[in-house]
């Protein structure tokens, strides 16, 4: 297993959300249900806010994460069922999910989404006192919101993991790191699955 199995096609990393173009979003992408029946006109993706992700969400809750995960903790949410929000609540309870400390690399485009290399690394000294306890990957628009949960500890030395995952469609994907002090840090990235955009 030499460099041949290294995930490829990843985009440059280490950019903040703003640098990744998530400030004023031109975003107007395909949604799961309506890649083939999109409404004639759609506005830009609303800068949704979900706060207290525990107490709710709406169908496009990860839109909140898109607009900046920071919004997660700042504003009240609109309560409608959402599998991702439910999954986040089940996993993390009432705890805040803050943006930062997590680097999440995913190719910007995937042809069919069957094998998508994902790399997550977390800014952590990985000492007995301060380490990453777990890394979770969540999906906005896969049929199931949970993708992978990895448990780590100080013995790992470095909080950097990778996996190959499936993306059902164009969406945002969220990586959350659970620290030894119980805080939660995150990064959300966009991926476009190009096969979605057929006739």
């Amino acid at each position: 297993m030499g460099s041949a199995i290294k995930p490829s096609g990843r985009r440059p990393v280490g950019r903040g959300l703003e640098e990744q173009g998530r400030g004023p979003r031109y975003e107007d992408r395909v949604t799961t249900e309506n890649a083939f029946t999109r409404p004639a006109a759609r506005g830009p993706r609303p800068p949704l806010a979900v706060s207290g992700i525990h107490d709710a969400g709406r169908r496009r809750a990860l839109g909140a994460l898109a607009a900046g995960v920071c919004l997660l903790i700042t504003r009240p949410a609109i309560a409608t069922p959402d599998e991702l929000v439910v999954a986040l609540r089940e996993t993390f309870g009432d705890r805040k999910i803050q943006p930062g400390r997590v680097r999440f690399e995913l190719p910007r485009l995937a042809e069919n989404g069957n094998i998508v290399p994902a790399l997550v690394s977390v800014d952590s000294p990985m000492t007995e006192q301060d380490y990453v306890r777990a890394i979770h990957i969540f999906s906005e628009k896969n049929p199931l919101p949970r993708i992978l949960e990895m448990r780590l500890g100080p013995h790992n030395g470095r909080a950097a993991v990778s996996a190959r995952i499936r993306m059902a469609t164009t969406q945002q994907v969220l990586a959350v790191a659970e620290m030894s002090d119980g805080t939660l840090w995150s990064a959300a990235v966009d991926i476009d699955v190009t096969v979605s955009s057929c006739t």
């Binding site: 896969n142 993708i147 790992n156 470095r158």
Partner: protein, 109 residues
């Protein structure tokens, strides 16, 4: 019955004490998501690897819970601090009782 396939892991043969090494793992498995259909449109039953763990001289150093969105032949990498010579034992379990293990020795100098 176990349809869980052979595993491949990549661990450096030796490392200096205190070094952080990268561990690469893959197991052959269809990891059928449960969201595909057969040629008559019937759902193909889910058959996935659901858990993975790695022990280092008997102590768990990494584990994972896998869901249907992990690709066929689940592949994961992680890091490990080399502290003493010993065996790394990798175990995958699927949702039909299938189990595969692999063992690699890490020599610490």
């Amino acid at each position: 019955m176990s349809r869980i396939g052979p595993a491949r892991v990549r661990v450096p043969e030796q490392a200096k004490r205190g070094d952080i090494v990268e561990i690469r793992t893959m197991v052959e498995h269809p990891n059928e998501s449960g969201f595909r259909h057969d040629n008559m449109g019937r759902p193909i039953p889910r058959h996935i690897v659901t858990s993975f763990n790695c022990t280092y001289n008997g102590k768990e150093v990494f584990s994972a819970v896998l869901h249907p969105a992990v690709s066929t032949n689940p592949y994961m990498t992680f890091h490990l601090r080399a502290v003493e010579t010993g065996d790394l034992v990798f175990t995958w379990k699927d949702d039909q009782g299938g189990v595969t293990t692999a063992t690699q020795k890490l020599t610490v100098v």
